[in-house]
Amino acid sequence: MAGTTRSRTTAGGHGKRKPRESPLVQWSLILLSLVFLGFFIVLPLAAVFTQALEKGLPDYLASLKEPNSIAAIKLTLITAAIAVPINLVFGVVASWAIAKFDFRGKNLLITLIDLPFAVSPVIAGLLFVLLFGQNGWFGPWLQANDTKIIFATPGIVLVTVFVTFPFVARELIPLMEAQGKDEEQAAMVLGASGLKAFFRVTLPNVRWGLLYGVILCNARAMGEFGAVSVVSGHIRGLTNTMPLHVEVLYNEYNTVGAFAVASLLTLLALVTLVAKSIVEWRAQQALA
């Protein structure tokens, strides 16, 4: 390939022209990308659905209707239904503060928001076990008050909130920073209170970014495995979320069951991707 890549940008006068490669290079790059995508993404996706439907549609539906599967789906939905709104509010508040106000410790706050991205989910799970587990800091107090967090739904929700909290904030901070403070200031000069300026100017301006962040946050909340696995205790029908349930079924050689539940998660991913593309498209339209 080395012989075919002739750079034209070296000839001073043509500096602004897009460097064009020979068709051979173009096509080999495209082909390489396609092969890579096919092998690592399309093939596994197809495998999930073929495996799930291996024994026909009735078996597929039956394994989804099985009580433990239903419980896992319910738990996942509950977790997302709590974690996503919490992070929506937190993300909006944090990014509003960061983008529109100057205060001490701003950089520290930005770093802290990124922490869940940097920490391995398993560690995140362990952190909560250390805090709320039987021998953890709050363990004795929780026991005395007859409250269970670890190996129960509250723990699962807590770690999910932790793992997913950067999504909304990360999406909004750059957007709000790019939009600047002018419009808010204009609103204030016109007599709007801080809250009115926020709800009538700031929030509508970032609505597409916000929706985008929520979609990503939701996908991660439903799909999280590592952190949830540590605090769940894998009690069937009680503390297994969908990803955990998939693992349990798979380990029991229940291939159809495992892949049936997995196919739901995959569908979620596909729906997320479509929704994400639509939102991105709308956001671009709004900008234009």
Binding site: Q185, A186, M188, V189, L190, G191, A288
Partner: protein
Amino acid sequence: MSIQVTNINKCYGSFHALRDVSLEIPTGGLVALLGPSGSGKTTLLRVIAGLEEPDSGIVEFHGKDTTNVNVRERKVGFVFQHYALFRHMSVLENVAFGLRVRPRKTRPSKAEIRERCLELLRLVQLDGMADRLPSQLSGGQRQRVALARALAVEPQVLLLDEPFGALDARVRQELRRWLRRLHDELHITSVFVTHDQEEALEVADTVVVMNQGRIEQIGTPEEVYEQPATPFVFNFLGDVNLFRGRSGEGQPQAAPFGLTPEDVGFVRPHDLEVVKEAGEGTMQAILRRTHAVGPVVRLELQLHSNAQEVFEAHMPREQFRALSLIVGDEVHVRPRKLKVFAAEEAGVGQ
């Protein structure tokens, strides 16, 4: 409403944006804050609006101390440099914003708001654009929406930050005249910031020239142009030639126009008379180039005694023709009007 600011200081970190600035703006005045970037003009405007808090000093509206009054309660109209229109709202919604966010007690009815906003849009010649989004408007139209939005709350003071800065030359010209007319109609006390001297001189009643956080001169356009108080004002308002009394690099030289070595003489190019014969108080010079486009001919001249000293003279085309000069000719120049500053004060590097 009159505005008075007294001894305002404002620092951003180690940058001193405003140093002890005092200024009085009479009711109904149209004042330009003129200066280069970093001169503190925008900061002063934002302090008056209440968007910035001064480190020290007092802002008074109509004799009432307003320094600690929140920007929301100051009832000023502010037009931002880049308009800051609400991008997700239609033109009408933008203009109506200030009325719609009022507490229910003082808020006009929906129909009234609509009526008033449509009237304002007529005033700024944007009738028929009410339902457009800001992104569908041209720069000049956006500017006028921003103005209508600021006027909708019936402010007692109108503040404009570089109102024509982002527009192209022709639209600028048009909007300038239009702003002047609008002010004459509404008589609202107005302050605008600009770095364009022509704009300041053409539109304002009073020009405040600022430099490095200080006010250099306050006066009518004629005053600041004809009688600049400082070398900076001279330099900033229009073209100027500098004649140094001190010779460069020790080469002996007759000081031009009888300047002493401590002096620098400032002459506007059109105040420099060019003649063919030597006379009283003239200096010998050589014509190096001419630019004869337009009604005014610009002559690039070089002092005979010092080839480093290049300067310009402007004269009407007719006069230039009568002189029948060609490049390389020897001529004599004499200032009709010469303003002398001490070299130290003038900052001879300029």
